[in-house]
Symmetry: C2
Subunit: 341 residues, 2 copies
């Protein structure tokens, strides 16, 4: 039996939390090679290289401070060294870097490698809309699974119980990924529906913006729950309308209802949207002040989804997504959020 | 065309909020008689009869203060006078009074009356477990629909937007109840699945007790969302296993996922369970102190459901319900809640 050799492409907050799980599981399972190379974009932290810190101190002090990583995790600054001989690739990078990374990998990975994407979002362009798993598959011509769930990285790293969902088209991929990710505190369910799992992770932040408006308007628990439920139904309708093979049950999994609950309870999308209503200030201003200028995923996704629906003349079928777009980008009052639902 | 004549059996917090909606809708729809009699258990408030206060001041000062009721609502202290000639009966009384009320009504209602139950809970006894809609149907031999949703009474009375679900076996009943309850701020969806809708309302409080444990343990948003999701799945499994005709989609309605979100966000079941973990004090003590001795619905339902599952040798299929029972009644530590899920 050939051993699975795992490469982890990414080392941010979520990538490091996942490194802890994957690094521990490979040590406990004979099917896996005992070294997991983790690609680290090299930077200096207090006069030391981040890769050196991770490899000597077994801690990503910059992105996941306070959490020990297993000794199986080996930080490497070179992307191609990271993936050399790997049979299993885990993509967990900010989505804006994905296409460049895939181009660098082309011709430099095993052609039979299997991949899994932990990246949230949708790739929207003039041609239409693609899932990031599809972007990877299109460039590298490999099979790509996805993982998504109610998984705040720091809580996972502290081993607080949660669940997550893996979507895999091929049964053997699902089995390998289950062994790689499942732990008693990080409970994996595998489903066949790749698109459904990934779309949940991409669209939940739009709903969280809506939930933030409700919080800002102080409309109470009934209304917030109604917006979350209607949002979940629009996520489902969007997925079922534009991708084939999406299953209704996927939205009952951790990637669906549970992640939506977590995202609408806390989270930056909810918070900034609430502040927008309470203070009357623009999203641009609030992003500068509250997020050091980082852009919210929810407002961006609302824009991409709206452009896509408008081009298809289908905004009327998604009244909540459309209204959230109008509130963010067209100065429609937030108090109109419940109209026409 | 004969007009529908509506009788409202009950006048507590939720009954009064519903009186506002129903009383307003009958005035706007020619199909309904313009008088809705509301049965009020007579009591004295500041030296005046409650029925007199309601009929003169159009406000239930005791159970829904600050909210005006439509003039169509006529409070009557006599149950049989309330239901005389009524074609539509709305049951919204505390469940412990239901059987006595049904016995009084037997032979005193129109045999072709249709009914709807807004009562939460399950009727558990040595014979097994019945829905309250079934209790009403068994005694009175009439068709009984149900209404349940993410509907905190005071928020509904203040016209904050929310949704609710009606389960009706007969299409014509669903149509009448839709016209009677739907408003722009109280949005009704009618489904055929009576049992599914009612079971959601009965079991959600068990899950809320579990959510309260998580809050008390400070286990974070991931874990709470996981418990809520697993709870929703056990609600679904319980309904689908023990009642026929239950539909998976019902749990996506307001009565399912939305009511669960509302109940696990606030609510007395969650609060007292949290206090149990934080203070280490017994539920009995906390109920005396926090609820003036009223009993929690969630712990009671956990007991009834556990007895039922145990008799059927099926506790293993419902690990979360079982663990919540053990924590409440068998001194199992709350921190064990995530084990064995």
């Amino acid at each position: 039996m050939t051993q699975e050799k795992v490469a982890l492409i990414g080392s941010g907050n979520w990538g490091s939390a996942i490194a802890k799980i994957v690094g521990s599981n490979v040590l406990q399972n004979a099917e896996f090679d005992k070294e997991v190379r983790m690609w680290v974009f090299e930077e200096m932290v207090d006069g030391r290289k981040l890769t050196e810190i991770i490899n000597n101190d077994h801690e990503n002090v910059k992105y996941l401070p306070g959490i020990k990583l297993p000794e199986s995790i080996v930080a490497v600054p070179d992307l191609l060294e990271c993936v050399r001989d790997a049979t299993t690739l885990i993509f967990v990078v900010p989505h804006q870097f994905l296409k460049g990374i895939c181009k660098s990998l082309l011709g430099n990975i095993r052609p039979d490698a299997r991949a899994i994407s932990l990246i949230k979002g949708l790739d929207a362009s003039a041609d239409g809309m693609r899932l990031f798993s599809q972007v990877i598959a299109d460039v590298l011509n490999i099979e790509v699974s996805v993982l998504s769930g109610a998984n705040i990285a720091n809580e996972v790293a502290e081993e607080m119980f949660c669940e997550s969902t893996i979507g895999s088209k091929r049964k053997e991929d699902g089995e390998v990924f289950y062994k790689l990710f499942n732990t008693p505190y990080f409970r994996i369910t595998v489903v066949e529906d790749v698109a459904g799992v990934e779309i949940c992770g991409a669209l939940k932040n739009i709903v969280a913006v809506g939930a933030g408006f409700i919080d800002g308007l102080k409309l109470g628990e009934n209304t917030k729950a109604a917006i979350m439920r209607i949002g979940l139904m629009e996520m489902k309708r969007f997925a079922c309308t534009f991708w084939s093979g999406v299953k209704e049950e996927t939205f009952y999994e951790s990637c669906g209802v549970a992640d939506l609950i977590t995202t609408c309870a806390g989270g930056r999308n909810r918070k900034v949207a609430e502040a927008h209503v309470v203070t009357g200030r623009s999203f641009d201003e609030l992003e500068r002040e509250m997020l050091n200028g980082q852009k919210l995923q929810g407002t961006l996704a609302a824009h991409e989804v709206h452009d896509y629906l408008k081009a298809k003349n289908m905004t009327a079928e998604f009244p909540l997504f459309t209204r959230i777009y109008q509130i963010v980008y067209e100065n429609t009052p937030a108090s109109s959020i419940v109209e026409g639902l």
